[in-house]
């Protein structure tokens, strides 16, 4: 087992032994930055991301005693996040992401503070349909294989490949399209 996984396992074992708040905070602080980045790109909206991360942790803590370490902890958490996200989109009638120009986004939002290039890419990813976005995030951002993506999403590796192709094409189209002008001129009148 690689050192990172051994560290994860030690933290999980320590938490399961006591279920203390302190042990959970240690586990949370180790895993959440990575989880949050994935959830943020998956959900798009800040409030949804917070809810998604919370729900992920609740399910994870509930299931931790049964986790068999057949994958890394990170992969397992991502799988839970995906399931939580899918259930929430079903509850909401599969609504698309909030427009990333949403004025309710925080002033210190990490997406907004990236370079313009990164923002364009983040926005393009955010505008992808749910299925495309999940595959593209898992493959091109998180580095999972199609076999692993198939296991995470419950699809064939072949389906993952074709979804990825479509996702890349859609993302490419958005990155190369010219910016749209507001109707009526500069003041929108």
């Amino acid at each position: 087992m690689d050192p990172a996984s051994q560290d994860d396992r030690s933290l999980v074992d320590a938490f399961l032994k006591t279920r203390s708040e302190r042990a959970f905070r240690t586990l949370y602080r180790r895993c959440t930055p990575r989880l949050y980045a994935f959830a943020r790109r998956l959900a798009g909206d800040e409030q949804e991301t917070d809810e998604l991360v919370q729900e992920t942790w609740v399910r994870a803590v509930d299931s931790l005693p049964r986790f068999r370490w057949q994958s890394t902890l990170r992969t397992w958490l991502i799988g839970i996040a995906i399931n939580c996200y899918r259930q929430s989109t079903r509850r909401r009638g599969n609504l698309q992401l909030v427009d990333s120009d949403d004025p309710l986004m925080r002033a210190d939002d990490p997406v907004l503070h990236a370079t313009a290039e990164h923002v364009d890419l983040e926005r393009a990813i955010a505008k992808l349909p749910n299925g495309y976005r999940q595959v593209l995030l898992l493959h091109d951002v998180e580095g999972y294989t199609h076999q692993e993506i198939g296991d995470l999403l419950g699809i064939d590796p072949g389906t993952s490949k074709s979804q990825l192709f479509r996702a890349r094409r859609a993302m490419r189209a958005m990155l190369t399209e010219p910016p749209t002008r507001k109707a009526g001129g500069e003041n929108g009148l």
């Binding site: 917070d50 991360v53 919370q54 803590v61």
Partner: protein, 202 residues
């Protein structure tokens, strides 16, 4: 002739530039600081976390022992009004957390517990402590009207702030109660305290 744009769009592989831009995306993001506490509270409500003793009881077993002794001593000295010193009355302190309230730092999450526990110890030594509870971070506002009863779950958005807990104290007079309330560390962290005398129906 192959249209270059069409060829690029149909290419299943990432271009070097696309790969570069994707690799430049950060794989980690700092979550909002409050998300950690919110997650812990959710876990605790779900019974998935072994919570520590109530924060005003204090951090150590020694502090808890002292408080148990002092509380028993105080109750043993009561007259016909439960928990009230013979010459005084009971008051309640409602602790409010507004937008500017300074929560415990992430690297020292027990800081408030220690502070409030120390305050309890100090007022307990003089017979003033009578009890208290922390309140969960969710709740409802119920409003009755001619149209019926409205139930609003936006408790945490109340403009006057959120009541995060309360204390019961024994005091000889209003001035005594005010002095005790003024000494609470909640006020040094930007919190607000509403002090009310209890007016027993009996």
């Amino acid at each position: 002739m192959i249209d270059e744009n069409e060829n690029n769009h149909n290419n299943t592989e990432l271009t070097v530039e696309e790969r570069r831009r994707l690799d430049a995306l950060s794989r980690e993001m700092t979550p909002p600081p409050e998300l950690e506490d919110q997650t812990i509270q959710t876990l605790a409500r779900s019974g998935l976390l072994a919570r520590r003793p109530r924060w005003w009881v204090g951090m150590s077993a020694l502090v808890a022992s002292v408080l148990i002794f002092l509380t028993g001593f105080t109750l043993g000295a009561q007259t016909d009004r439960s928990g009230v010193a013979p010459s005084g009355r009971q008051y309640v302190l409602f602790l409010y957390e507004e937008a500017g309230f300074e929560k415990a730092p992430p690297d020292d999450p027990d800081q408030r517990v220690r502070e409030y526990g120390q305050w309890v110890t100090e007022i307990g030594e003089t017979g003033h402590f009578a009890g208290g509870e922390r309140l969960a971070d969710y709740g409802w506002v119920l409003v009755g009207s001619d149209d019926g009863i409205g139930v609003d779950q936006r408790l945490l958005e109340a403009p006057e702030g959120v009541v995060s807990g309360y204390f019961l104290i024994n005091a000889a007079s209003d001035d005594d109660a005010l002095a005790i309330a003024e000494s609470h560390p909640h006020l040094r962290r930007g919190g607000r305290i509403a002090l009310r005398a209890i007016d027993p129906i009996s």
